[in-house]
């Protein structure tokens, strides 16, 4: 039976647990029944070990619930970065890391055979040359070491590029890295630079800070690499997240990754993809993607990008509504009451409206016209103007009807209002 470790071999399972503790916060042990109870206990203990200060235990009617509560707008370091810093390793990994760096510290270069001999002579650490060569190659790929060939023999030296040296020449860079270490995506990489120099961010904070997005960074890196090389990808996807059960089955999809679309207001992030068999674009929640594998090159990538950019001028959020860009759009028209002294409402509409326009139609009335594929997507935004919507027309009939019935339902819900 294996013993508990604070460190983890793979990120995906931990990502699911940390996300569940942080985002949903009301799950109890039974809600994780699609996993073994031992796995749950280990993941809970690990999360407590990494993020102790932020973990709450509440006894609810359903049992003890573990949650993570963070006031993300007032923190200088995303606590979820800790999960990335918990990768497990072997004894040889850590010994080779520090001994090789020590051997190469003088700036000289060595062959793998020379280093193998030195490891034994200086640290009494015996390994076969192949194992040492594999680590040297890995570190050269990571950029820690430089590999130069002389004839057919590779020579290894340590990279002279350090952040301390670089920021000495570019003093403004330190604060830039402090700032960007808390922005997404990949703030964790900036944070790793700070940590490598024993620096920390103590001056920048982020409002509307969706810290859980960092958990998707490793998936995102693979997707962006596929986008850079204009390839399709094979994805493993969860159908939904909140109530996963033992019957939940992953879906497999092959598609062309086109863009990453992020909501600054709802925290959700999507991968916009093109599916050749359907000849259409659609979107997949990034936090529903479990695995990414690069697939075939996509020769028509540039043409697809052009087509997508055109279509996006009618996408209010992320819904293409099953269209392929040829159908007519019926604009959604919202008439709104804004009195002259309420200039701040007009300003708000102006800064928040997308793919549409606002025009004054009366002393106190304004018309908003949205030229969008899926008017349903605009409804939550329209509802933020509750109290001043005079009429909704166009789009689909269903939308207009739904706005009316929803308002009546809200009146009923609050009781005090006569519908």
């Amino acid at each position: 039976m294996s013993t508990f470790s604070e460190l983890i071999k793979t990120f995906s399972r931990t990502r699911d647990y940390v996300r569940d503790f942080f985002i949903y916060g009301c799950k109890v042990r039974d809600d994780f029944k699609h996993k073994s109870s031992r796995t749950y206990d280990d993941e809970r203990r690990r999360t407590e070990s990494w993020l102790g200060d932020y973990i709450n235990h509440d006894d609810s009617k359903r049992g003890r619930q573990i949650s993570m509560s963070v006031d993300s707008g007032h923190i200088t370091e995303n606590p979820l970065y800790q999960a990335y810093y918990a990768k497990s390793f072997t004894d040889n990994d850590i010994k080779l890391h520090f001994f090789l760096i020590d051997l190469l510290a003088n700036g000289k270069r060595f062959t793998s055979q020379e280093l193998t001999n030195l490891l034994f002579r200086k640290y009494d650490f015996y390994l076969d040359e192949k194992t040492v060569r594999t680590k040297l190659k890995e570190y050269s790929d990571e950029g820690l070491f430089i590999c130069e060939k002389e004839g057919r023999t590779p020579y290894y030296s340590i990279s002279p590029d350090t952040f301390d040296e670089m920021s000495g020449r570019y003093p403004g860079l330190k604060d830039a890295v402090r700032f960007f270490s808390e922005t997404q995506p990949f703030g964790v990489i900036g944070n790793s630079i700070l940590k490598s120099c024993d620096m920390q961010n103590d001056r920048f904070i982020m409002k509307h800070n969706y810290i859980a997005r960092t958990l998707e960074d490793d998936i995102l890196l693979d997707i962006l690499e596929a986008m850079r090389s204009e390839r399709s990808v094979k994805l493993k996807i969860f159908p939904a997240r909140l109530y996963l059960s033992e019957n939940t089955k992953e879906l497999n999809r092959t598609c062309v990754p086109m863009k990453i679309s992020t909501s600054a207001q709802t925290g959700r992030r999507y991968l916009i993809v093109y599916t050749p068999s359907k000849n259409s674009f659609d979107s997949i929640r990034l936090d529903y993607i479990k695995e990414v594998k690069p697939d075939e090159p996509c020769p028509e990538y540039s043409a697809l990008t052009e087509k997508l950019n055109e279509e996006l001028t009618h996408v209010f959020g992320i819904s293409f509504s099953g269209r392929n860009g040829t159908e007519e759009i019926t604009p959604l028209r919202i008439t709104m009451h804004i009195s002259p002294e309420e200039y701040y409402i007009f300003d708000r509409v102006k800064r928040e409206i997308r793919y549409g326009k606002i025009e004054q139609t009366g002393e106190n009335t304004y018309l908003l016209t949205l030229d969008i594929y899926d008017p349903k997507e605009a409804v939550p935004w329209i509802r933020t103007f509750t109290g001043r919507i005079i009429s909704i027309e166009g789009g689909t009939e269903e939308i207009c009807r739904q706005f009316r019935t929803d308002t009546e339902a809200m009146a009923k819900l609050y009781g005090e209002v006569q519908a």
């Binding site: 619930q65 990335y84 390793f89 010994k95 510290a105 670089m166 810290i211 600054a264 509802r383 819900l413």
Partner: protein, 327 residues
Amino acid sequence: MNIFHEIYGTYFRIVKHLLKRRRMTESELNSVIIDEGYRDSCLFLQPRLIPNADGSDWGLFRKNDGGTLSANTKNDPQSPLTLLQKRWLRTKLEDPRIRLFLSDDEYSGLTEELKDTAPLYTSEMLYFYDQFSDGDPFEDRKYKMHFHEILTALRNREIIDVSYRSGKGNGKRLRVVPFYIEYSEKNDKIRVHCIFPFSEQKENFIILNIGRILSLKRTGNFFSGDIDSEACFRQTRCEEPVTVRINPERNAHERFMMEFAPYEKRTELDTETGVMTVQLWYDSLDETEILIRLLGFGPVLEIVSPPDFRKQAVERIKRQCEIMKSE
């Protein structure tokens, strides 16, 4: 190339710090692990660092006669920038906000230095679909100058003299000490958290939008007192959390939990009714923003308390019903 790699890991970082110390007692070694590690790190890390007769340690330290520990390595461990870190830096050079930190010379020097490093992504690959369109002018000369002066003052706790236009258009002059710079991706704006250094009052905290600063001067006077940022945040924190009930229809639970993830909250789910009850703590300066976002959920969410907060929702719904009736 992966972010999830042990070379960035907490254990490697602790060992690096210990090797840098060269010589230490066992209790000093334990202190470093406790300070820098996870809750249980001492349990796992310490036995691998302290030499054992059975050779189960990593051989990174040796025990001296006096019982102290010495590093078996000769040099301070170096941490070169990895390719992933360089590519991240290269990517950030394409972000207009980096010009707030780098001078023109620094920017062109660094761009030249990293010209052969591929960025992780380009701006065309990622976009916000609902970011507000009136973001700050990060490349504006005056804006950059104000930002730079504030950052300099913040580093040294210097008092600044600010001429400011409030949201309602009123002009005012303030003497403040900046202590945090805050960015919002939703607003695409930068604000600065300040205290009034000479205030006798309990409420000495103010947030200024950098874009609304008309002029700014560093005074050459420095604030020597302590700034308790937590106490400042408490000044604007809501007195009572807002309590909402969310029905499970229209995927509302998930939508709500995602959208309000940045806030401190307590959640309870009633499995019989499927209703989720959430207490949410917020900054009272953002009350209207919270209210309209909650209304955006429509009839699947009910604001239960505080009464004043609920009343604001009721008034808006009442107004909406009246408009609909008259149409």
